[in-house]
């Protein structure tokens, strides 16, 4: 049974979003990391990159698979978690602690399209 955290928002492509004002902190769900298995690499964007809701911003890689990361919101990448470059296993260890990027949102209304914890739990059943 994969963990789901109350208070976060979730996308259909298994990213989570923690909202702090107009800043969206984004990672992948515990379900997603478990599906991937041992993550060997996290392909990160650069700070300052413009991202669009629904567009790719990076990817997770395991030995035999790769999975694109889709940005749940539009805006500017304000920070990337550089720890993941040398320690991608942190996503496996705690997917909710291992945030991937922080995005300064240009349109916070996009958050309304995301699921809450209960809805996400249904979605991955």
């Amino acid at each position: 049974m994969s963990r789901i955290i109350e208070g976060l928002l979730y996308s259909e492509s298994h990213e989570w979003v923690k909202v702090e004002g107009d800043l969206a902190i984004i990672g992948v769900s515990d379900f997603a990391q478990a599906e991937m298995g041992d993550i060997t690499y996290v392909d990160l964007p650069s700070e300052g990159d413009e991202v669009q809701a629904g567009e790719e911003f990076g990817a997770l890689e395991s030995v035999k698979a790769s999975s694109e990361l889709y940005c749940p919101v539009s805006g500017t990448v304000e920070a990337v978690n550089e720890d993941l470059e040398s320690a991608p296993e942190k996503v496996n260890e705690d997917a909710y602690a291992a945030w991937i990027i922080k995005v300064r949102m240009s349109d916070p209304a996009e958050l309304e399209a995301l699921m809450d914890a209960a809805a996400y739990e249904q979605a991955i059943k």
Partner: protein
């Protein structure tokens, strides 16, 4: 096989050498700086016997077609005849830019191959520039784009690819600047014609088909598919990776394909060399012939040495035996399938062509397809292709080819049954396999997380 743990660099001793050059050599001493190399060149310093022994030892940790049965699906690991190797050296000294007046023999080989492959496939002419199957795909797609562009039909930027396609198909399309549109397979494993219809339109450049497809099933609706795709103005691309069962039986050109590639290193018996060189000649129908030379996709004339080997193969088989190659490969695949389907899950009950796919063991328990594959190595067989196609979670794709004897097929079948029994009785034996190989299962996760990609002196 015996574990041998050396790298050529570790045999190096300063001052040793193995080269043989005229003694007159070199008062030339490049001045340092400017355009000359400054970093010392780190290469092994070894004797000739060191080199021979090292690589002989390395070779003995390898499994090849000459070692044993290699039922690797979609790879057509048939026997590589030795006469094919012998004739190549006759052509070694010819420079690729020599004028035509000095290379008439070479030209005759290309002409023969063009004619022979056209006859075998029903295409009009071939280009021999592509060096491998994926390279052929790319070249073929370039020709499709060129065809549309030459007609001012520039909106055709999408290519349809079945969900069961080889990974190279969508990748080649992307390199060629085409957007991939996926058409689904039906439960019977064939392209879903109803799913295809709404995809067709003025933006479709064509469709890439593998027939028989990667499940080893003949796309029996090919005639309707060809009519539909041609009807919308698109072209049909034939992925020749699975040509072997049709060799001497069915010609892609007759099925309506406009462009195709062949893998000479699969269907035409040239050795795979641990991953190449291959050769991926591309054939086209009449209406694309004028464009055939347009994409310059490699340096000179393609992999001539590989083309020579394939030529020798066609000459050896001749028209009598070429008709048997495909049929015998299909018979062998069906024989294995029928013999093993009580132990392994056969997701689609149907006559297959040269290969077929099991979806793991019937009684798997904790045992995965990977475990079965690794256990096969202990019994002296190469593993089938695993986890492809992606349609089944425990895919195990078996292709025996026409050059394996009934005894070999029976030995393989017996071993597969034994493994199925072991899966229930002693699953740990499988989960920890292989046990009789030079190394056990390696830690691939660490290899990818902390890549060590070259040798560094300690």
């Amino acid at each position: 096989m015996r574990y041998y743990d050396k790298l050529i660099f570790e045999l190096s001793r300063p001052g040793r050498s193995a080269f043989s050059l005229p003694s007159e050599a070199g008062s030339f001493k490049p001045t340092s700086g400017s355009i000359w190399r400054e970093t010392p060149l780190d290469l092994p310093e070894v004797s000739e016997p060191d080199v021979v022994r090292h690589y002989t030892n390395l070779s003995q940790m390898n499994f090849g077609v000459d070692t044993g049965f290699y039922p690797l699906g979609s790879c057509t690991m048939k026997y590589n005849p030795k006469i094919n190797e012998e004739i190549v050296s006759q052509f070694n000294g010819i420079h690729p830019l020599q004028p035509a007046s000095t290379t008439e023999g070479v030209k005759a080989v290309y002409d023969f191959m063009d004619k022979a492959l056209a006859e075998i496939t029903g295409m009009k002419h071939f280009t021999f520039l592509p060096c491998a199957g994926a390279h052929g795909e790319l070249t073929g797609l370039m020709l499709i784009r060129e065809y549309h562009m030459s007609r001012g039909d520039s909106a055709r930027t999408k290519i349809i690819v079945p969900d069961s396609a080889h990974g190279t198909n969508p990748a080649s399309a992307a390199v060629c600047g085409l957007d991939v549109v996926v058409v689904k397979s039906r439960p019977d494993g064939l392209v879903d014609v109803e799913d295809l219809k709404p995809l067709l339109g003025p933006d479709i450049a064509g469709i890439m088909m593998t027939n028989p497809n990667t499940l080893g099933l003949f796309e029996r609706d090919i005639k309707e598919i060809a009519e539909l795709v041609h009807g919308c103005g698109g072209l049909l691309y034939y992925d020749g990776a699975n040509m072997n069962p049709l060799l001497g039986v069915v010609r892609p050109g007759d099925m309506g394909f406009d462009v195709m590639h062949l893998n000479l290193h699969k269907t035409f018996s040239t050795p795979h060399g641990g991953g190449g060189p291959g050769s991926g000649p591309v054939g086209v129908s009449e209406r694309l012939v004028h464009l055939l030379d347009k994409p310059r996709v490699s340096g000179f004339h393609g992999n001539f040495g590989v083309i020579l080997r394939a030529c020798a193969y066609i000459l050896s088989l001749g028209r009598e035996n070429i008709k048997l190659a495909g049929r015998l490969s299909t018979l062998a695949a069906n024989y294995i399938k029928e013999s093993l389907k009580d132990s392994f899950k056969l997701p689609i009950e149907s006559v297959c062509k040269h290969e077929f796919v099991f979806d793991g063991l019937r009684e798997a328990g904790e045992v995965t397809t990977l475990d079965v594959a690794k256990r096969l190595l202990d019994y002296g067989f190469h593993a089938p292709t695993i986890y492809f196609p992606l349609l089944f979670h425990q895919a195990l794709m078996i292709e025996p080819t026409e050059t394996e004897s009934l005894q070999t097929l029976d030995e393989f079948i017996d071993v597969m049954h034994t493994i199925a029994k072991e899966a229930s009785a002693t699953p740990d034996l499988l989960k920890t396999a292989p046990h009789n190989t030079p190394i056990g299962r390696p830690d691939e996760t660490t290899a990818a997380r902390q890549p060590v990609l070259k040798y560094s002196r300690q």
